[in-house]
Point group: C2
Chain length 284, copies 2
């Protein structure tokens, strides 16, 4: 399979922030930048799939990744083109095989997938049962270098807040950093890029500013990425799924600090840290 | 209408945190508490509606609020009982009129609502067009007292992180504080309580630890609450909807600081603050 097939695509990414006025506690009017949030309705051969609220910087990659992560399309060569037109808030996907066949093939599936977490939940749990990722060996020192390198990103967050950032990382390098108002959109846009460029997940690490909930672990597992690094916390279901699938989970990763909730055997602790004087809850 | 009709309900709230082990950067194993995250499938007369991932502390109120906020049910007296059984991850709603009529009446509607943001988005925008809230006059000093009072809550967040908190407030008092892994669940549980207790939104203030995005403003507007206070940031669509509907929006509210993005004319600035020496971006 050639990994270099590319659908025709617009490049309709927009400026993600707007200047507005706000009144502060001193009753001063200040100019602030806030994150944009636009509806984008995805159509496949004029079949309406979903409307996502997005920052709008990578609408084509978001479309690709959404179709991939929802299991609606599996071969990128089935996609002829993706055309985003903000005037009508639409991302129009045209397939190679054309309208009728798409509806026949995926009509019921689309409804199922669109119908909330409910109906799809069991399906995803079944899919995950087949996934078992090969552990990725990581060095503590490389994690620190990576966290330092990540500080250069998150531009919209620094300007306007109200967005989550995600990055696809390899070693200490950052392949791409995506921000969006919905953290799932940021993940989907990265999935879209991986699909488009034929990037394999198995030697990568996924960074997110958001929490490690079930949905985040499900998406990363579907993308075949064996390590997940978050600045935020973790939920019990996120942990359980990571244990089942074999995702190494770093939570609360900031500066020199992190907590590994799963897969600590994959980490080489190669960094000499200053002694810690108070560790309240160490298990002896 | 009597506001004291109450469906029969279980009280199946569960302990929201679990103790697990994590390895820190010193390679020490520590006992940490993490937030629970459980699937809860809502059925109405055995008709499957949706599966929500929830912390599990208020499954009955979450069920009520979800049905209300999604527009699936409008009169609480139509609900005979809500029975939550975690063994099968189910919240079973039994209506007074019974199965067949529910399916006839709401069958297609349910599919529409369940089918993601996409199909419902236009409907909600149309509904919001009819809502115009009466402004609520607020004093700066009361906002500060309220923020101080709110510090006593957010228990799960303080223990385990990874949850959002929401509160329904009246003056400087807190009627209820809800936490959940999904911030929309926390809002829905509050909507459920308001529906159950016949609480009117028009003199209330809604607090959230989360961001003020379009979805948050839509829900608060549907609940008839004219003021929204957040510790986090705001998006452009959240602001636009707040302007359309008439919701006063406090963003970045912490300590003495806040930014009012809409409705500053409703605030009485009655607090003497220490002089501020550097305000980089004040509009003269």
């Amino acid at each position: 399979m050639s990994s270099h097939y590319r659908p025709e695509m617009t490049h309709a990414g927009v400026n993600p922030t707007q200047a507005v006025h706000a009144v502060d506690e001193y009753q001063n009017t200040r100019e602030m930048h806030i994150a944009d949030e636009r509806p984008l309705t995805i159509y496949v051969d004029r079949y309406e799939i979903v409307t996502l609220m997005t920052l709008g910087t990578q609408p084509e990659l978001l479309t690709l990744g959404y179709l991939k992560n929802q299991g609606l399309m599996t071969d990128i060569r089935d996609i002829k083109s993706i055309q985003v037109d903000w005037d009508v808030s639409a991302s129009v996907v045209t397939t190679v095989t054309g309208e009728s066949q798409w509806e026949d093939k995926l009509g019921s599936r689309t409804v199922t997938t669109g119908c909330g977490q409910g109906t799809i939940f069991g399906d995803i749990m079944e899919q995950l049962a087949d996934i078992r990722l090969t552990p990725l060996k990581l060095k503590q020192s490389d994690i620190y270098t990576l966290l330092k390198n990540l500080n250069a990103y998150n531009d919209v967050y620094k300007t306007a807040g109200a967005v989550h950032g995600c990055a696809l990382c390899h070693g200490t390098g950052i392949i791409t950093f995506m921000e969006d108002v919905g953290r799932h959109n940021a993940v989907d846009a990265i999935a879209g890029l991986m699909w488009l460029e034929g990037i394999n997940g198995n030697d990568k690490l996924f960074y997110t500013t958001g929490r490690l909930t079930s949905e985040m672990v499900i998406k990363v597992a579907q993308m075949g990425i064996p390590a997940l690094l978050s600045r935020s916390g973790i939920t019990q279901m996120g942990l359980k799924l990571a244990q089942d699938v074999g995702v190494t989970m770093f939570s609360r990763a900031q500066g020199k600090h992190f907590l590994i909730y799963n897969g600590s055997e994959n980490i080489e602790f190669d960094t000499e840290l200053p002694p810690k004087f108070s560790v309240a809850n160490v298990i002896s």
